[in-house]
Structures are given as structure tokens and as C-alpha cells.
């Protein structure tokens, strides 16, 4: 009997050990990735790298200034397109919990969120690049905004759902019209959650490459015209990584370092906002 019990306890301990081992083994790639990006990235990054344009192969020096500007422009473009629509659709869903339209919207949001980024790239190509006959920052922004949209809708809906009903009742009881209640009472109390959602969705699209392959395309020069092709950090990384030149490979690591710092910073800020500003009810 004692042997049986010991066997069970040993099994229990062994299982816990295996779970811990596998859980922490899966962090190994993360640390390896961060280690190599930091090691290879910092070696390349200097003043030149951040503030100069890429030079043709053979010339030393040069940087990724155009890619940084391009990425920022794409973020602004896609935010401008997706945030208003995303927030209003999120409000609609939180205000209409049941109903045919709400359910259809929810289903569409799920499907949109799962749509492969490359498919969205093709769509933006067909909708904007093909009619305008040129790759453009605008088409890249549209592609990325389609990726942002479902995230914003979902987080807005979930945030506003958590706001207690008596807040709304109190406002309505004071005679405030319904739409003002939503805009002045419900929306501000959910602001931190919505802002978190927006930042997370921006973090998500900052590193996207696939939708930009046939839309924003890439550009060796500085460009701020939204109807012209534009460079971006992820595209530059892809382009440099697939090139046969070791010097460009090291540039890819440098660009990766900037990109990772950017996305991690966005994630951290988002979490900081949701932790600090969270309205508790």
C-alpha cells in the first residue's frame, strides 16, 4: 500500500517537473531571438543608421531613415482610417448585444481577425494599387487598417460592456439624451480600455510585412507622398535578409532591433495605460 502511494506521489512530482521544464523550455527561443537581435542590432545602430538613407551595395554606411519615416506614416494612415469606424462599430455592438446585425458583425469581426495578412495584401492591391496603377503608401495604409479594425472593434466592445449599467441609468435619469450619455459618460469611462486596444492593434500592424509586399512595396528614397511607394521597417528587414550581401544582413539585424523596440514599447505603454488608468467600478 505504501509503495502504491509513493508511486502516485512520484508520478505527481514527475509531472510537475515535466510541466515546469516544458513551460520554460518554450522561452528558450524568445531569449535566443532577443539575444541575437540585441547583439547584432546594437553593433550596427549609430547616428548614421538612424538618420541616413540606404546606400547602394559597395558603399559603406547608410541607414534606414526612410523606413522609419515610412513605418510611422503607415501607422498614422491606418489609424486614421480604422479608429473612427472601429470605435463606432464597437459602441454599436456594446449597445446592441442581441440582434441579427450585431451577430453578423461579430462573426465578421472574427473572420476578419483571422484572415491571413497576405490575403489582405492582395485585396488592397486589387482595390487600390490596380486602379491607380502604382504602388502607394495609401494602399499599404488601407491594408493595415483592415488588420487593425477587428482588434479595435473587439476591445471597444469588451471595454464598454464592463461599464456598469447604473452609470448609464443615472445619466439618462438626469434627462441627458441617449447619444450624449454614450459620448460623455460611457465613452470617457472606457477610454483607457479603448486606448489600450488601439495601441495593441498598432503594435500588431507595425511589424506586418505580408500586406505591404504588393501595396506600399518599398522605396530606397525618402518619400512622404501617400500616392507613391513607401519604405517600411519590416519590408526593409525582409529585403535585406533575403539579399546575398553580409553587410545588408547586419543592416537587417539593426532594423529588427529598432522594430522590436518599437513594438515592445507600444505593448508596454498599452499595458501601463490599462493598469494605471483603469476605472474601477
Amino acid at each position: 500500500m505504501g509503495g502504491h502511494l509513493r508511486g502516485r506521489l512520484v508520478k505527481d512530482l514527475a509531472f510537475k517537473g515535466i510541466v515546469c521544464l516544458f513551460a520554460f523550455l518554450s522561452l528558450l527561443p524568445l531569449f535566443l531571438i532577443l539575444y541575437y537581435i540585441t547583439k547584432n542590432g546594437i553593433a550596427v545602430i549609430d547616428w548614421d543608421f538612424l538618420f541616413h538613407l540606404p546606400r547602394p551595395i559597395g558603399e559603406t554606411g547608410g541607414g534606414v531613415a526612410n523606413a522609419i519615416v515610412g513605418t510611422l506614416m503607415l501607422i498614422v494612415l491606418s489609424s486614421v482610417i480604422s479608429i473612427p469606424c472601429g470605435i463606432t462599430a464597437g459602441i454599436y455592438l456594446s449597445e446592441n448585444k442581441e440582434g441579427k446585425l450585431s451577430n453578423t458583425i461579430r462573426l465578421s469581426v472574427i473572420v476578419l481577425q483571422g484572415t491571413p495578412s497576405i490575403v489582405i495584401g492582395i485585396i488592397a492591391y486589387l482595390w487600390i494599387v490596380a486602379p491607380l496603377k502604382t504602388f502607394s503608401a495609401l494602399s499599404g495604409g488601407v491594408a493595415l487598417s483592415v488588420m487593425m479594425l477587428p482588434v479595435i472593434v473587439k476591445t471597444t466592445e469588451e471595454t464598454l460592456k464592463l461599464i456598469p449599467y447604473h452609470l448609464k441609468e443615472a445619466s439618462l435619469a438626469l434627462g441627458v439624451p441617449y447619444y450624449k450619455t454614450i459620448l460623455k459618460v460611457i465613452l470617457p469611462s472606457g477610454l483607457s480600455g479603448i486606448l489600450t486596444g488601439i495601441l495593441l492593434s498598432v503594435a500588431r500592424i507595425t511589424g506586418e510585412t505580408a500586406p505591404l509586399l504588393f501595396t506600399a512595396f518599398g522605396n530606397q528614397f525618402m518619400n512622404i507622398n501617400i500616392f507613391k511607394p513607401i519604405d517600411s521597417l519590416p519590408y526593409r528587414i525582409f529585403y535585406y535578409a533575403m539579399s546575398p550581401y553580409p553587410e545588408w544582413h547586419s543592416f537587417a539585424w539593426g532594423a529588427s532591433f529598432i522594430l522590436v523596440v518599437l513594438t515592445l514599447a507600444l505593448n508596454l505603454i498599452a499595458r501601463g495605460i490599462s493598469a494605471k488608468w483603469k476605472t474601477r467600478f
Binding site: F22, L30, Y92, I105, Y178, G207, F214, P234, F238, M242
Partner: protein, 305 residues
């Protein structure tokens, strides 16, 4: 004065109507967007659908010069690499789910692991590709030389490994959620009968959370199928039917990424046909996965109340 008093409610009424209309329109816009995506893909793929029909999925040859297009190599490449990635990732994601959902629900270790997994999920795909290209690929090549197969380095195995790393956070976070949904009284009942923690996990927690865990794995599969950049960089870009886990191949997503920019006419239509199929597959996987998870969390919230 009287006039004004009557006007104000009228104005509010109109603004209210307008406000509601804007809300409903932006909601409807999302539905329309999805429908437009579907219709656009279908219409632009039509020449290829007409030409190849359903034999598209049986054709083994993808050749732009003779304009013969069969998507079987990419279907096989996608399924092969995704399922392999899934199998590699399951022990790890399950371990993380149990670790965070059962063993260490709170505390510094748990916070650390959870944040690390979140960081893993936040790293862009292209960076996984870069890392895989310069570190994973040489390692795989070395291994291939040791066991005596053609040392491509790139291929299905390499992309499955990187895919596995990329999808661990997704199935792990869903697994953690469903495992922490398991009602405490069920577990306590088992403990009171003298079960060890392992026995509770095996006989109570896992069976209870099973459908949710499977749904999480399904959603991870959806991601693996649609994942583009890292795979494009590591799979070797070969349009032939893969013969082993070491052979270079192409997935549905990677062939689009590689060839769409230069494609015209029937080649472009065929690539869009591939995109349409990819869209449908991920749509079905996502809807089923989300539905299962929703059902599970509704059930457990009923049990608590």
C-alpha cells in the same frame, strides 16, 4: 420660449437618430467589408476557377510558362508544415497552460512566464524569419548533413519549427483561460477523495477543459496556415510536391508572397484562387474555434452562478 422648449426635444430626437444611424452604419460597414473581400477575390479568381475548376486542387504542376496551374503542392506544403508545427507546439503550449492555469496562478514566476509569452506573441513575423534564416537554418543544415539527407537547410522542417515557436503563445493563452475556468468544487471533490494533483489534472481538469484546449489548438492552426513571412523566408520556395519533411516546398501563403508581384493574367488569377481557398480555410477554422470557446465559457459561467 415655448417654441424653444418644443424645439429642443425635436433636435435631440434628430441627433439621436443620426447618432444611431452612424453606429449601425459603421457596424454594417464591417460586414460589407468582409463581403466585398469575398466578392473581389471570387471575381478576380474567376478566370482561373473557370479554367481549372476543382481539378485545381489535384494538379501537381504549377508552371507559369505553360500556364498549367495545380495547387496540390501548396496544399500539401501548407497542411504538412502546419500540422508538423502543431505537433511540435502542443507539449509546450499545454505545459504553459497547465503551469499558468493550475500550478502557478499568481506570483512572480507566473507573471514572468505570462509576460514572456506575451512578448513572444508580439515579435513580428519577419523577425522570426530573419532569426530562423541565420540561426535555425544553419542548425537544421548541420543536422541534415549528420543524418545524410540533402542539406538544403530550408524546407518544411525549418518552417515548422519556426511556426511552432510562433503559435505557442496563442494556444497557450487560450489553454490557460479554459483551464482556469474549471470549477473549483470539482477539483476539491477529487482532492477530498485523496487524488494527487497529477490525478486531478489528468482526470478532472483536462477532460473538463478539453474542448477549449482543442479550440485553442484549432485557432493556432488557423494562424499557422495563414502565416506568411517567416515561412516564405524559410520554406525554400519550391513549386514541387514535397517528398519528406526535409524537402523545400511552398505553402499557399508563401507562393502568393513570392509570385504575386510579378504575376499577370491567368497566373495572377490562379494565385488569387489560392488566396480564396486560404481565406475559406482560415475562416472555417476560426469560426469553429471561436464558437467552441464561447460555448465553453458560457457553460462555465452558468455553473458558477
Amino acid at each position: 420660449m415655448d417654441n424653444k422648449a418644443r424645439q429642443v426635444p425635436g433636435n435631440t430626437d434628430r441627433s439621436e437618430k443620426r447618432f444611431n444611424l452612424v453606429l449601425a452604419l459603421s457596424g454594417a460597414f464591417i460586414v460589407a467589408l468582409l463581403a466585398a473581400i469575398l466578392v473581389t477575390l471570387f471575381i478576380t479568381a474567376l478566370p482561373s476557377i473557370k479554367e481549372f475548376g476543382l481539378f485545381f486542387f489535384a494538379g501537381k504542376v504549377w508552371d507559369a510558362t505553360t500556364e498549367t496551374f495545380g495547387a496540390l503542392p501548396f496544399l500539401v506544403g501548407t497542411l504538412f508544415s502546419s500540422f508538423l508545427a502543431l505537433i511540435i507546439s502542443i507539449p509546450f503550449s499545454l505545459a504553459i497552460s497547465i503551469f499558468l492555469g493550475e500550478y502557478f496562478k499568481e506570483g512572480a514566476v507566473s507573471t514572468f512566464l505570462r509576460s514572456a509569452v506575451e512578448v513572444l506573441a508580439g515579435i513580428p513575423s519577419v523577425i522570426y524569419g530573419l532569426w530562423g534564416l541565420f540561426l535555425l537554418m544553419p542548425a537544421v543544415r548541420l543536422m541534415e548533413m549528420k543524418i545524410g539527407v540533402a542539406p538544403h537547410g530550408v524546407g518544411i522542417l525549418t518552417s515548422s519549427l519556426i511556426l511552432a515557436i510562433m503559435i505557442i503563445p496563442f494556444s497557450a493563452s487560450i489553454g490557460r483561460e479554459v483551464i482556469s475556468l474549471v470549477p473549483g468544487d470539482l477539483k476539491e471533490a477529487a482532492y477530498s477523495l485523496g487524488a494527487t494533483r497529477f490525478e486531478v489534472i489528468r482526470n478532472i481538469v483536462i477532460p473538463y477543459a478539453r474542448s477549449g484546449i482543442i479550440a485553442g489548438i484549432l485557432l493556432a492552426l488557423g494562424r499557422a496556415i495563414g502565416e506568411t513571412m517567416a515561412v516564405t523566408m524559410l520554406i525554400g520556395n519550391s513549386n514541387f510536391l514535397p517528398t519528406s519533411i526535409f524537402s523545400p516546398a511552398n505553402t499557399m501563403a508563401s507562393v502568393i508572397a513570392n509570385e504575386f508581384a510579378e504575376a499577370t493574367g491567368i497566373t495572377a488569377a490562379s494565385l488569387i484562387y489560392v488566396a480564396l481557398v486560404l481565406f475559406f480555410v482560415t475562416m472555417v477554422v476560426n469560426i469553429v474555434g471561436t464558437y467552441v470557446i464561447q460555448k465553453l465559457s458560457i457553460e462555465s459561467s452558468k455553473e458558477v452562478s
